[in-house]
Amino acid sequence: MTTAIATQQGIGADPAGRKLAVRCRNVVKNYGSGQSVVRALRGIDLDVYEGELLMLVGPSGCGKTTLISVIAGVLDRDQGECTVFGEDFSAMNSRQRTRFRGKTIGFVFQSFNLIPTLTIAENVSVPLLLNGVDRRTALKKAKEILSIVGLGERTNDAPNRLSGGQQQRVAIARALVHDPRLIVCDEPTSALDHETGHKIVELLKGVAMSGNRSLVVVTHDNRIFDFADRIAHMDDGQVDKIVGSAKELYGPNMQSANGGGGMS
């Protein structure tokens, strides 16, 4: 199965000659042990290229979040290989891994995860502070990027004074501010209405992809599939399809294939 996917979907070699951002081979992750073991990832093979927006889709419990956690280096795999820009998290100690993550990866979360007691500019400045930038410069840069995502007038507001869409814009600004090479997004539109979700992904695609960055987006929302360069479909801990568009995945009548508004 793995070999077949690799052959059919071009794993390991990009026809356009782009460099690899993420390379996963036979990644296995189990939770628990004995009879209660849950096999979350059962030998994942996946490549993500530089400048590519890859969406990870599939039913709930199929292992998307586990895979994105392994790719982002916040969860250890049990078996297999996984490198990010050629670096293997398992070869690093805790401090190196934390530093690499802070420098190389930007995060966008489903529920935004903005610290409510800080202003949005301070929230956005966090990755810069973690990378040793002084507070004044970090705040200046945070305000600049907040202007880019359309929140230049709200930099001193608390997150709870913003709408869901605005908060996700702040989260995107936070993910981008330190110029990471890879951005991982976990259900970035699930807490937003259709129109706002559409705008958010448009923003992600427009702003985040501008620097030849790679994006891995975990989503259930088939309304944003059109933004993907490739879509990896997962089921039961495995990637069973990697396609170039939603139509390839679900056929011409995507709505009926998904049973309506979104996959579950």
């Binding site: 979360f109 610290i115 800080l118 966090v126």
Partner: protein
């Protein structure tokens, strides 16, 4: 990041005030109760503090504290005077005597008989009159607390305020007439009874008849004399106990620490303050951390190391510790100032502040440890769980 850690804490006002309240309570109780304890202990040796003349106090070897007088024969005074290195030695009588009030009731008083010729051993400060007036017939000096309260005369009509003793008033001390020639002020004593000063020769006539009446011999050492050597020499030559003022104070305090329930009572109060403060602070701080766990996990995922998170938590804990300690110690000090001039014994010392501060640091460390454990064990992958 440290600045952000403080903002996270300060902007969560409910938790912040809760944590500060816990630390404040602990700091207030420990400082206040500690100060009252020290104040009480200081009262036990108030007499020694006020009599700053003697280098060495000489007494019966069985004496355990200042009020535990075991009379000596008068000849002991001359024996002490004969010890090489003693520049001068004067007698001191200290005993209890009953004063008859004008309403027929009796009031116990501390009677001090000081050296007739030098008047050494007299009260620390004269409020009215002169110490030298003790040379007048039947004269006594009464301390201001006694003169205005326990020895004061009743008003003309029921309910009228008491009329304080004044110079010229007479007292009846153990069936002897005594004339007030001065009002003094000194350190409060543990017994809270009026202090009455007179000459040694008059005191022994006022005092109930006993074969021996000399309570202490107050010794001034010759200039340059080593006090420890002199102490040993006095003991060797006379068979009496000899202590410097500080040693006699410690002897007195140690007696009260060992044979009274005071340390236990105050120890329980201080311990309760510590335990309750720890519980409130620990619970509130842990609750604050749990509330922020999602964000701490986010910071961890974004590249914040465990060490940095620990330092942030410690900084938060120490910050509330400093604020709470400041408020608590300040409130205790204010309490002490408001209570000055009352019966309450209160003496705040730097050692108490260090002790209270140390307790607050321990409370903060315990509270932070609970949170640090939680944060260190936190998997950053938790941030992807919605």
């Amino acid at each position: 990041m440290y600045f952000l850690a403080l903002k996270m804490l300060f902007n969560d006002k409910a938790k912040f005030f809760g944590i500060v309240m816990g630390v404040t309570l602990a700091s207030l109780v420990i400082t206040q109760q500690g100060s009252i304890f020290v104040g009480l202990m200081a009262r036990t040796f108030g007499v020694i503090t006020d009599m700053n003349y003697p280098d060495i106090w000489v007494m019966d070897p069985k004496v355990q504290f200042i009020d535990d007088t075991k009379p000596l024969t008068d000849t002991k005074l001359f024996e002490v005077r004969g010890v090489p290195g003693v520049a001068s030695a004067v007698p001191l009588y200290k005993g209890m005597i009953r004063a008859r009030m004008d309403n027929g009731l009796f009031q116990n008083c501390n009677l001090y008989g000081i050296d007739d010729s030098t008047l050494i051993g007299g009260p620390g400060e004269m409020v009215e009159g002169n110490l030298a007036d003790l040379r007048m017939a039947d004269s006594v000096i009464v301390d201001v607390e006694g003169a205005t309260d326990k020895l004061a005369r009743k008003g003309k009509n029921p309910g009228d305020p008491k009329i304080p003793l004044k110079i010229g008033d007479t007292l009846e001390l153990n069936d002897h007439r005594a004339v007030v020639v001065g009002i003094s002020r000194g350190s409060r004593t543990f017994q809270s009874q009026p202090n009455v000063f007179t000459t040694y020769s008059r005191a022994v006539t006022f005092a109930p008849k006993e074969r021996k009446l000399l309570s202490f011999v107050l010794v001034k050492a010759e200039p340059g004399e080593n006090l420890e050597t002199l102490r040993a020499r006095i003991t060797e030559r006379t068979g009496l106990a000899a202590y410097t003022a500080d040693q006699f104070k410690m002897l007195t305090v140690n007696y009260f620490l060992k044979y009274t329930g005071i340390p236990i009572n105050f120890g329980i109060a201080v311990s309760l303050g510590f335990i309750i403060g720890t519980l409130i602070t620990g619970f509130m701080f842990y609750s604050f951390t749990i509330d922020n766990l999602k964000y701490l996990g986010t910071l961890k995922a974004m590249g914040t190391g465990d060490t940095m998170l620990m330092m942030m938590i410690l900084l938060q804990a120490l910050s509330v510790g400093c604020i709470g300690f400041g408020i608590g110690a300040g409130a205790a000090t204010l309490f002490g100032m408001m209570m000055s001039g009352t019966q309450l014994a209160f003496w705040i010392t730097w050692q108490i502040l260090v002790l209270s501060g140390g307790a607050v640091v321990i409370i903060c460390m315990l509270a932070a440890m609970l949170s640090v454990r939680k944060v260190v064990a936190l998997e950053p992958a938790v941030v992807f769980k919605g």
